[in-house]
Amino acid sequence: MTPVYLSQLQLQCALSAELSSAAARYLQGDVPQPTPGSDTLTTGYFAVSGHALSLHQRLHSLLRSTLQQAGLNATDCLLLVASTALDVSLLEQRLQQGESLTMAMLPAFDDFAASISAEFNFAAIRIINTACTSAANALLYGQRMLQAGLYQHVLVLAFEPPGNITRTGFSALELSSGSGQYRPFHPQRDGLILGEAYATALLSTTPDKTAQAELLGGYSACDTYNITTTAEDGSHIAAVMQQALQQSAVHSSDVALLKLHGTATAANDTAEHNGVMQVFSRQLPALTVLKPYLGHTLGACGLTELALLFAALQQGALPALPYASAASLPFSTTAITLAPQAVVMANFFGFGGNNASLLLRRC
């Protein structure tokens, strides 16, 4: 199969509005503090630091700079948009400002694409919503469409703005952290903290000088066990991870680092723990979680977490998990150094039974 490379990574997140600074803070072990909820219904979240920009200003600026730095025209690229909320937060703002809610206000998916097309003439725009695997699927299908010869380049735009529907929704499901501590795989974990983030990446069959990883492959499939939780015995997660290894022609013993999904919810972490132990029964690779540093960026996490991870690996050793010795999986208690060309496996799971696992090799 034709190799596909991940380059031109950009990330705006709670650690920093600039990727290399965010990676530097992550390597120092800095964790952001949640911005408190504005009322009794909404919980705190990890907000993007820096200048306040409107959503579309921010997204257009990211797309513009990604294309400019890559030296590409939009017409050369398929744009894959990965987000669960898209711009519904803008509708929330209109209602908060006193407009009356009507059915006619509800946006079609085309409306978002039209706002992008007003400035950029992409070869095509596709909006992907598979819950928290949206960006992972955007990367995976971007790779496959390049390998199938359908497009020259694929630009992935992944984002989750803060919205009241999302923040109250996870509270209604009792999945939000009450302690304000984001601790995946900790015995006293108490749920997730949402994160605001905006990210872009370019997928191409030839590596440019900014290429950070080769996307080897992966697998994404639907677990019909339950719409909000995957099978707690980890069987579907294990099957997806095994298929991902097979599709990527990688043996489990070749995986140097496993980036866990790690939502810090009781059911997800249990299922992922069980799935991981089934796949790596003999010897576990080094383990890492990134949501304590970014928050759960929902549909964007497939790209935000990989952007932070690979940018950090360029700068140094990954920090040890602060509570490694108490965690239910054997996280390293010391910093993790990865060799050049090391293979990374990355898990992403979501509502709607969506489970995905990707394999990447450092460039």
Binding site: G169, I227, T228, N354
Partner: protein
């Protein structure tokens, strides 16, 4: 590129209530899933004729012009206007590809499951995803579904595909429907 195995299309009265859609679906299914929103009901009505026709690892690729409108309206009204917590299932249906989940459950499939906004070229978008999976050997069969709820419509089409030598001249459902079998 493709071999078209089967197709199905449905055009319903846009004023049909969800209860009427459930009754229509219950005539085809031995067990009805609970808490289906309108988009999921339309998807299941389009997918129901393919029960027992697809290999377990087949992919489902769904494109819709809108999310479930009544569900989105209820969420905005509850959370933003009334400032209350949303109903859990309404929230889950809004952030997930719930319609795809219920289709996979009904068809007993555990393969890829993709939901996309329909955009201006829904059949091209769906066919490209399916082609990518067929080309890379991820699936051997694909079910493409398009749902329409906007502009006072309630309709959709579905196509079952395998890898083959036929390529549509135009990215329209009519081309898939007229493809040689």
């Amino acid at each position: 590129m493709f071999s078209v195995i089967a197709q199905h299309q449905l055009r319903l009265d846009a004023n049909s209530s969800d209860k009427e859609l459930k009754q229509l679906l219950s005539q085809q299914l031995p067990h009805m899933p609970r808490r289906l929103d309108r988009l999921a009901l339309l998807t299941l009505l389009l997918a129901a004729p393919f029960r027992g026709q697809l290999a377990r690892g087949s992919g489902i690729y769904l494109a819709a012009d809108y999310p479930s409108l009544a569900n989105m309206y209820a969420l905005l009204d509850t959370v933003v206007v009334q400032q209350q917590l949303p109903k859990p299932f309404e929230f889950v249906n809004s952030v997930s590809n719930a319609a795809c989940f219920y289709a996979a459950q009904m068809l007993q499939l555990d393969g890829p499951n993709m939901f996309i906004g329909a955009g201006s070229a829904p059949w091209q978008a769906l066919a490209e995803l399916a082609y990518a999976d067929l080309h890379c050997g991820v699936v051997t069969e694909a079910l493409l579904i398009r749902c329409l709820q906007g502009n006072n419509q309630l309709s959709g089409q579905a196509v079952q595909l395998r890898a083959g030598n036929w390529q549509p001249e135009q990215w329209q459902f009519s081309a898939f429907a007229a493809a040689p079998r």
